[in-house]
């Protein structure tokens, strides 16, 4: 959207608002279609994982604002190359994991999950992107079922986006005007996708997602890599 000529004040709050609402819809229907089950009383594993990821994501948002505030600027090409290589590596590792481990149930590894959340949060904090693929692959490496991993990402991203909106509007009190002209179009696509994707995740077998998720991460990494080095 930046390439299309929209300003950050048009793009950032609009994406955050749209992601919060569509994330809530996606989370609700993932629960409804039994891709994952959330419970706050008592707090179940899926909710705990989502909250841990969201917490680290929120810290990342504050860190990125602090970095911006103190004008600590990392070279753009270094960050983007690092994230692209990381996502490609995670995609390849995902393929290797599918080849090596044929078993359906994996042992849980909460420490690994926190590590990947921190890694994805760090990437987001330094403005490198790749949050979704790293978090999804991180959950799968930590023993979360593939279908549930995709659902939990939506849950945590909706919380992170909501905190992002609050932060953005706090900054906006300093007299910055927010332009929501893009909201209807972004919201339309996001909303309909948030209704369709939980149903597709339910219907399509998990063996497809086992291949598709690493392939998607690998593809995103390659695409980012090509974009960096093509003028």
């Amino acid at each position: 959207m930046f390439l299309l000529g929209y300003s950050p004040l048009q793009v950032v709050p609009t994406i955050l608002i749209s992601e919060t609402i569509t994330g809530v819809i996606d989370t609700y229907f993932d629960h409804e279609f039994k891709n994952v089950r959330y419970s706050f009383r008592p707090l179940n594993d899926a909710t705990k994982i989502g909250l841990i990821i969201a917490f680290v994501g929120c810290i990342a948002i504050f860190a990125s604002i602090l970095l911006g505030y103190f004008a600590i600027d990392f070279p753009d090409i270094v960050i983007k190359t690092y994230v692209a290589v990381l996502v490609i590596f995670m995609g390849i590792s995902g393929f290797i994991r599918v080849k090596l481990r044929k078993m359906e149930f994996s042992n849980a590894n909460p420490k690994l999950l926190i590590g990947f959340s921190a890694l994805a949060g760090f990437n987001k904090g330094i403005g490198g992107g790749g949050y979704g693929p790293v978090i999804t692959m991180g959950q799968i490496f930590s023993g979360v079922y593939e279908k549930s991993a995709t659902a939990i990402v939506s849950f945590s991203e909706s919380i992170v986006s909501f905190v992002g909106i609050l932060t953005f509007f706090l900054i906006s009190f300093a007299g910055v005007n927010v332009d929501l002209i893009l909201l209807p179009s972004l919201f339309s696509g996001g909303f309909l996708a948030a209704l369709a994707s939980p149903y597709l995740v339910r219907v399509i077998p998990n063996k497809f997602w086992k291949i598709f998720i690493p392939a998607y991460a690998f593809g995103i990494g390659i695409f980012s890599f090509v974009k960096i080095f093509t003028p």
């Binding site: 229907f29 023993g143 909201l183 998990n206």
Partner: protein, 51 residues
Amino acid sequence: MSISWEVGKEAQELDKKPIKERMKVEWRSIKRVGYALICYSITMVLFYFFL
């Protein structure tokens, strides 16, 4: 000690069923999708008038 996540057990159970079973959804879920689409339409009308 090895532990296992209590995540996605229902999805795993559902995955063992044939695709026709997975495509079937409860009437309650269809109604909720309908309500969501009504909310979506109302929101789009509000966007038209207020944005």
